[in-house]
């Protein structure tokens, strides 16, 4: 049901935008050839896009039919590349960059948060709590700019844009190529981690504070168990719940979430692709990326719900 509604949204939103892809294409032809397109050309371009000839419901049925057969069409701005090719090029980069950073940020944030919540009011807590509040409030795209200025331009430690060294052959089994991916990805990744871990830290700390004062934690302490054991096996394990479901949801949001960072670092991921498509009115690409995002969010929701049931026995009774 939600899925169907999302599909329809996907279909409708680009259709209600002004700006005609055919007109854009004609303008492009004019720029390339240096002369106005002939009426014949105009007609064939119109015919090719098909938009004006069919009414909306017919287009809608067409669209659904294409989706069922996994036909995503051809990109308009980079004609005639199939949309699926463009997405396939962009997707691994986003998954690599954002996937790893999300997971690292999650681990760092959760671990630090568990430690902070263990002793609320300790010096560590008193210093870190305000700092992370501030860090959490920094817009990521701005920090990306500052990082780019400081580390790439002033200090020259990192490359300025891109995801890999263009001088190295594009081969996955080439060690230098892999190293260049690491080098080019380091700055965006560090920025994302630096901003990303704070949110996890907060939820973890707050849940931890409430968990630590529970009776079973006191009992574990009274039994004389070593501190680390009480911390990890008794307190943190229970406090982890919201963060685990949060992670599942965050992984769903990965695809849409880093648009700005990718634009700042000109990282060839999905966010950058979507931005370009929006600017160029490239409807097929936009639609497909949207579809992909909605799908992952829905699947992640499903996973989050099932993980919750697995982790917390109390929720099982209701089902």
């Amino acid at each position: 049901m939600t899925f169907w509604a999302a599909l329809t949204f996907n279909f409708l939103i680009p259709r209600f935008m002004p700006g005609d892809p055919a007109a854009t294409m004609l303008r492009r032809i004019q720029q390339l050839t240096g002369q106005a397109p002939t009426p014949d050309q105009i007609r064939s371009v119109r015919l090719f896009f098909g938009g004006a000839r069919e009414n909306l419901p017919a287009q809608y049925l067409h669209y659904l039919n294409d989706l069922v057969h996994f036909r995503f069409g051809l990109s308009l701005s980079e004609y005639p590349t199939p949309v699926s090719d463009l997405i396939a090029q962009a997707l691994p980069w986003t998954l690599l960059l954002v996937g790893t950073t999300t997971i690292i940020a999650w681990i760092v944030g959760t671990a630090l948060g568990a430690y902070m919540g263990w002793k609320p009011g300790s010096r560590f807590d008193a210093i870190f709590a305000p700092t992370t509040t501030f860090l959490h409030a920094i817009p990521t795209f701005w920090l990306s700019l500052v990082a780019l200025w400081a580390f790439a331009f002033q200090l020259g430690w990192f490359p300025v844009s891109g995801a890999y060294d263009p001088d190295v052959p594009y081969q996955i089994n080439n060690l230098w190529f892999l190293l260049s991916i690491l080098k080019y990805g380091a700055l965006p990744a560090l920025t994302l981690i630096f901003i990303g871990f704070n949110g996890w830290l907060f939820t973890m700390r707050n849940v931890m504070v409430t968990t630590v004062s529970e009776d079973y934690v006191l009992l574990a302490k009274a039994k004389g168990l070593p501190t680390w054991r009480v911390l990890f096996k008794y307190a943190a394990r229970n406090a982890l719940l919201p963060n685990v479901t949060g992670l599942a949801l965050a992984i769903g949001g990965i695809l849409g979430g880093v648009l700005l960072t990718e634009v700042v670092f000109t990282y060839p991921g999905l966010g950058h692709r979507l931005y370009r498509a929006t600017v160029d009115h490239d409807f097929p690409v936009m639609q497909t990326i949207f579809l992909l995002i909605t799908l992952t969010v829905l699947i992640a929701n499903l996973i989050a719900d099932s993980i919750y049931v697995l982790l917390d026995p109390r929720t099982r009774d209701e089902a």
Binding site: M17, F134, T210
Partner: protein, 302 residues
């Protein structure tokens, strides 16, 4: 309640900073024209892309405008969009969440499905596309678009809160006495949610400022007017990074971060009051307590 609220130092600091920015947004443009005798677009041909100096406290942009004047005037663009979008988002969230939780039944099903649909939509990407559609719109249109994708989370929280409040003794009692549904909602249920709603509002406010900045940064925000986002965007567009003009793009970002911190502090305060176990207490008090626990007999410790 309010008294305890204001006694919390985090809340006081947070509200202070927030009020300062609000004042800046209201009086900023007047201040720039009356006291600084300039406008954010005035060009000083003697100082193109100059670092901070006595004449231009925050330096100048590459075309020669005063950065401080831009940041002050930009506060209005950013904060107004943030607050307008937050008001709208909170109102929509209340209109969807409260009836859905209070009345239940088929209405609840419908509204929940509607909320869930909006929750799964990639909000920023959609905002981007729709904002691109109305390119160069007035600031309140941008606020409207941002609000349209900001409300679902709040609606969900309000729904579950309303559901729990609906079953409490005092509501049931008043229903027995024959109070009308409207009065029940407004007199019994709503007052108990002031804390949640105000926290929601503040969070939405910052989210609005963030979204506006992000949109302007991509060149899709309000055109013509100045906001923190447009300053950063112009700085990037005119390669401030390449030329090392850090004073151009650093201040607006810091302002956004400060505003975000302020609202986060207020929200922590609200959290701590509603959930006393969260309060990090006073470090001195904790130490004294621990010392007492160590020396005194077990009863004191527990």
């Amino acid at each position: 309640m309010l008294n305890g609220f204001l006694r919390n130092s985090k809340v006081r600091i947070g509200l202070g900073v927030f009020a300062a920015f609000l004042l800046l947004a209201l009086l900023g443009p007047w201040f720039v024209s009356a006291v600084m005798h300039t406008t954010p677009r005035t060009i000083d041909y003697d100082a193109l892309g100059q670092p901070p100096s006595a004449k231009h406290l925050l330096g100048t942009t590459l075309p020669g405008s005063d950065v401080l004047a831009q940041v002050i005037v930009g506060a209005r663009g950013s904060v107004f969009v943030g607050i307008t979008s937050a008001v709208l988002a909170t109102v929509i969230a209340a209109l969807v969440g409260v009836p859905s939780g209070f009345l239940g039944g088929r209405l609840d099903h419908g509204l929940t499905a509607f909320t869930n649909l909006f929750l799964t939509l990639p909000s920023f990407a959609l905002t981007l596309i729709i904002a691109g559609y109305v390119q160069g719109a007035a600031w309140w249109v941008i606020a409207l678009i941002i609000a349209a994708f900001e409300w679902p989370g709040g609606a969900r929280t309000l729904r579950s809160q309303t559901m729990s409040l609906r079953g409490r003794d005092f509501t049931v009692a008043m229903r027995m006495l024959g109070e009308s549904k409207t009065r029940l909602v407004f007199a019994e249920v709503m007052p108990h949610m002031t804390g949640i709603v105000s926290a929601m509002f503040l969070r939405a406010c910052v989210a609005g400022v963030f979204a506006e900045a992000a949109l302007s940064f991509l060149g899709i925000g309000t055109t013509g007017s100045v906001s923190w986002g447009t300053i950063i965007s112009e700085a990037q567009g005119q390669s401030a990074i390449l030329n090392g003009l850090w004073w151009w793009f650093v201040p607006p970002g810091l302002c956004i971060a400060l505003l975000g911190t302020a609202t986060a502090l207020v929200n922590f305060g609200i959290d701590e009051i509603s959930n006393p176990r969260l309060s990090a207490a006073n470090r001195k008090l904790m130490k004294r307590f621990r010392r007492a626990a160590r020396t005194a007999e077990p009863e004191v410790a527990r």
